[in-house]
Symmetry: C2
Subunit: 479 residues, 2 copies
Amino acid sequence: MAEDKLTTRAEDFSEWYNQLVIKSDLADYAPVRGCMVVKPYGWALWENITSWLDKEFKATGHVNAAFPTLIPMSFFEKEKDHVEGFAPELAVVTHGGGVELEEKLAVRPTSETIIGHMYSKWVKSWRDLPILIVQWGSVLRWELRTKLFLRTAEFYWHEGHTAHSSAEEAKEEMYRILDIYERFCLEEAALPIIKGTKSETERFAGAHTTTSIEAMMWDKRALQSGTSHYFSTNFAKAFEIQFLNKDNVLQYAETTSWAISSRIIGAMIMVHGDDQGLVLPPRLAPVQAVLVPIYKNDAEKAKVMEVADRIFMELKAAGIRLKMDDRDNVSSGFKFNDWEMRGVPVRVEIGPKDVEKGSVALARRDKPGREGKTFVPQAGLDSAVSGLLVEIQDSLLKRATEYRDANIHDPKDYEELKKVVQDGWAFSYWCESRECETKVKEDAKATTRNIPFNQPETEGTCIVCGKPSKRKVYFAKSY
Amino acid sequence: MAEDKLTTRAEDFSEWYNQLVIKSDLADYAPVRGCMVVKPYGWALWENITSWLDKEFKATGHVNAAFPTLIPMSFFEKEKDHVEGFAPELAVVTHGGGVELEEKLAVRPTSETIIGHMYSKWVKSWRDLPILIVQWGSVLRWELRTKLFLRTAEFYWHEGHTAHSSAEEAKEEMYRILDIYERFCLEEAALPIIKGTKSETERFAGAHTTTSIEAMMWDKRALQSGTSHYFSTNFAKAFEIQFLNKDNVLQYAETTSWAISSRIIGAMIMVHGDDQGLVLPPRLAPVQAVLVPIYKNDAEKAKVMEVADRIFMELKAAGIRLKMDDRDNVSSGFKFNDWEMRGVPVRVEIGPKDVEKGSVALARRDKPGREGKTFVPQAGLDSAVSGLLVEIQDSLLKRATEYRDANIHDPKDYEELKKVVQDGWAFSYWCESRECETKVKEDAKATTRNIPFNQPETEGTCIVCGKPSKRKVYFAKSY
């Protein structure tokens, strides 16, 4: 895997990314336009992501269910904005079982429509609400320019779809989920993110409000890493989700939907990765530590492997996700590079001298080279490694937060804004008009990312037109 | 849910099944021909099934991965038998992103082809083998006559796909998986199954050997509940999966594939269910026990709920999957019927008298009515309920095994065979010729289910043609 040198980020960030995804064994190109194969190493990472989220969703009263992959085309017509947003991206099934279908079916690009249809059957009374359902799976959008994990025709995700009896409750749900996403990013993925509200033009097709979490990549472009939408009664009206309220009056339900996709893996790659390869946050890494025994002959091997096997059992027993790399057809140097490429947080090296001294060498992935290498006693190694994993996790978040904050600017005028968004984000007052937003897009190729919930106490003037403005927004180039 | 009376099994077994799936809240009909919506209760059951299997697969060295949902049509042409078997059942995507596709894509009916294509890229040397990959998801086959869980156009499953360097190793894998399936059925689903080899006509399209597990339903028809296939080099040749062996000679890989689908839920319904509804084996039941507080007025309610809440916490702490049914808009009788319909193994009733006596009533789902009801002390209830769950699990397997064994016949001649397969299975010597198999199918509408691994020590003569026969086979009508 790691034989060829990786292009550096400074040379060509996009090429670095493309090479890294393949070399780190996360994914491969599929023989279907724009699709990917998520390889076992990438899928193990995705399973760690999904299992944390699934646990949190269940702890907050959500349940999982499964709706069909194929959706009748007529369903998309029912919500005007939704069909405009998704119709151009659909993959369409026209034939089934050898005959042409009377009604064409779309491979789902998202499931608001078919789930809305089912909710209209299931919801009759206020007692049937709320419905808090999550679906795990994949969806398909016919993207023209694709990039593994970041933008593929088929991608993996969860989509939450909830129905409530009041607007307040539905909005609370939208924010509750965004908070779960924030905790996931901070605690698990070590991704500092900014929570906020999307502008009208950046909203999900059919939504009343779209909230998002936005992260800054190494190249300082923004990546929308999760969204949570409040639909008001838009979808309930389109799909007739009505219920008798406590006063026995027929009322439309209030709905939400929300998602984090396999794109989040792209974010982790682009925030933490370095010129040696992937750097995975310990809490999500499929392999948290790799044990590399080092020896030159059979006598050394016997001596080293005895200790290596014992240490392997000890670390395993401590709950550390562990691999022993005892391949005999590659050099130690090759192994080091290989596991660095795969982003394994900690490497434990044991050679004949370590056996004599009762020590091992620990190498931190987040600090390659001498700086990250220490020699520690074999006794108590389990707690040393566990402690180091916590330290690395914290350090990744701290580093990414500092990097982001150092690259968010407060331009003094429009000229400066146009300049800073070429290599960073601008955090500026904006009048929230579509005109000013479009002007920035045309002049500087930057879009509004979100209007963060955290706002300064003062008001200001729009950086584009100078009109009074109540809230600041992030402008940035984005993926 | 449980308001209308369920049709009894004796009246109309098929109608009983259809009603039960809906009334027990497992699934619903989707607005897409032949597809189903798996509702949260059904999906929770499926998650319990999949998590046990996933753990076993991982413990035996398997890893998960994800391949595209869409497969180029040309891939199906590469294996002659495979295309014959699947082409008539494909759903075909002809348009994507608003334009007609140059190459049509099929929604996957199974993934041997696209996975074979990827393996040919990944496998170069014997060191790359074995590959032991499992994919979890759904597949689509354009079925004309559908029935929820048993036969739907889209269904849920895992598909294991492995590649090995020798035929022996691949065959071992096929049997290893069948053993895992057997343990799942016996230990978890309480389904007695028979392991064996399928006849040539009943083989998977493209397989060298298909093994299966077969279960007997309440109506005595057979249900193929899982399959494990050995492909020899058929798919490796079609997809060019070749590797340099230890002698540096280019060689084709040996492959297998295997699956259990959401159909297994249909098997559990039809084996354990009764005229009151679903009966779920405790080890897989999403809800193992339901707590029903019983009271007539607020004073009683206060007294009863205090104890009910305490018991709820105790049982929860003991790891029992538990629901408290404190709905105040339905009667206790309604609640009893409702949870019986959903197949919850144990019901715990607490009324004012129970509070006084320090007791509760326990009702077993597998023995409805007085027979299954006991009064036990509140003290030590956690171990009483845990013990009862084990007893119910064992009892379900024992009952199903006895039922099956009582309905397997050893007909003395062909005339008797034709008769017994109308209401049971025949276990008979067979010459393994296609002619005799076809004759039984035409004369009695029964097919060969499998040639079990467990065989009598003696040989015999074919029940159809009288020629010498080495092995007995099961003949039965099937789903």
